[in-house]
Symmetry: C2
Subunit: 293 residues, 2 copies
């Protein structure tokens, strides 16, 4: 599994060479030598739903339409089957306006956002919990050979992380194939961009796996579950509430996936152990993501 | 610098053994073996200022009073010199009520929060930028020998990170001495707990260094600057806007501090290079924080 990844598998892969996403800055290293390094951009993007300003997200700035659509969908402001009549991005104003056939008014919902967390958790936590009681995810099987293949491919894919660091990645996968790899300064943006892509393309969730570089916190688990994706995989660790919710909704939850190692804390019965861990290479030190924390 | 850290240097150190902060969960590893691991808790804490509900933060749950005070101070809802008449934590209701002699009403401000980001950025970004134009930090010198000593001490201090992972750490330091080491599921919570401690104890900021395990994003830089701390140090990387703001307010910004390596992207003129990098040990692989991402 140490071969170079086949980038043609991706429908969307990172574009680490894009000039707009990173900036060269100059400083000095430990020896006092001048060093030039590329750092990721972080810009505001204000999302409107029809006439209403909803949120300003800090983002690297790629795929603004997907970010807007996915954010609104994940907040429940776009309904299932919503008729979207337009998605207009204005690069100069740094805005995206999403238009729907239905008249929308989320003033009340926006008020309630105020009370939610701005900490580990992204936004509107109170709202997100709402739809969760009804969620029972499909019992889709996950092969451990897929997990190893995905991990190896994703870690070797040229990315902004490898180019500039300080960024999170999330990848929508099907079987052992990574389909859409989004990166962003906020891991929730990366997930929202994937949700926006799925919405735009009408892509189903029940046979997908979501891979994230970030921790498996409650909000990440809730987001994945509400998107209908039955498996969530990370190289990072868990929080107790994330584990609890995953077990409640029937989400297969695999964390600490590095080289041959992983821990499955939910959905063990849906895991097909078809790969011998001893045959999987340990991760070389260089390949390890060292924390886009 | 490979000696065990002198924990007596700390005024507050992590308490990784505290039963309330982690939970044992059982799962299976790559070989199908049952494993039990400790994962960090994540619980809601609702912060009130007098009669007004301000925010619900997701937190590991230690030092709730410091978190509440620091959050409110960092949002500008507690003013400099504010007369605080009480800070009441109710463990059962998971609330902290901070009371002031002055009557407060932040309804308008809370409305504006709605429009801000819930992504990489914690909260109320629009508000935080406000005070920034006036900020010019004191030109406090930072010795590179301190940076190396702090990094070595902090990485070796028993912590929830070492116990359970998936958590961020922030340490308030003075010279080569770590004073207060806070951890939380959200790195902004960890910073807010430090701000709350400083407010409670009346501790000055101008001779301090803030160490964080997290990335040096715009919001982290803004928070540090508004707290009046003239140096911000991280083992993680930078974002472009974080660097830009640090240069604007005169913040010494050091990132990617691992073993003997670091990069200084702002405040080079205040860095005293009194340590020979060649004399500093490279970080052993085990000691590396592998991303509480």
């Amino acid at each position: 599994m140490a071969q170079d990844p086949d980038l043609s598998e991706y429908l969307i892969a990172p574009d680490p060479g894009a000039a707009r996403l990173t900036r060269a800055v100059t400083g000095r290293d430990q020896s006092g030598e001048e060093v030039s390094l590329r750092v990721v951009e972080e810009r505001p993007l204000t999302i409107f739903l029809n006439r209403q300003e909803i949120v300003t997200a800090m983002t690297i700035g790629d795929h603004p339409e997907y970010l807007a659509l996915g954010f609104l969908r994940n907040q429940g402001m776009l309904r299932a089957g919503e008729e979207i009549t337009g998605t207009d991005y204005d690069a100069e104003l740094e805005t995206v306006v999403v238009r729907t056939a239905r008249e929308t008014d989320y003033e009340a919902k926006l008020q309630r956002k105020v009370r939610t967390s701005g900490c580990a958790v992204g936004t509107v936590f109170g709202d997100m919990m709402e739809g969760l009681e009804q969620v029972r995810l499909p019992a889709t099987e996950v092969r451990t050979s897929w997990l190893y293949a995905l991990s190896a491919k994703i870690n070797r894919t040229p990315s902004l992380y490898l180019e500039a660091g300080a960024i999170h990645g999330t990848v929508l996968c099907q079987g052992d194939r990574p389909l859409v790899y989004m990166e962003d300064v906020g891991r929730h943006n990366a997930v929202d961009k994937i949700a926006g892509w799925m919405l735009s393309e009408g892509v189903g969730a029940s046979d997908k796996i979501l891979y994230t570089t970030g921790r498996l916190t409650s909000e990440m688990v809730i987001k994945c579950a509400l998107m209908g994706i039955p498996a969530l995989v990370s190289r990072s660790g868990f929080t107790a509430w994330g584990v609890e919710i995953a077990r409640q909704v029937g989400l297969t939850l695999v964390g600490r996936l590095k080289g041959r190692r992983f821990v499955c804390l939910s959905g063990e019965e849906r895991l097909i152990r078809d790969a011998d861990p001893a045959s999987v290479a340990e991760e070389p030190r260089r390949a390890g993501r060292k924390g886009a924390a």
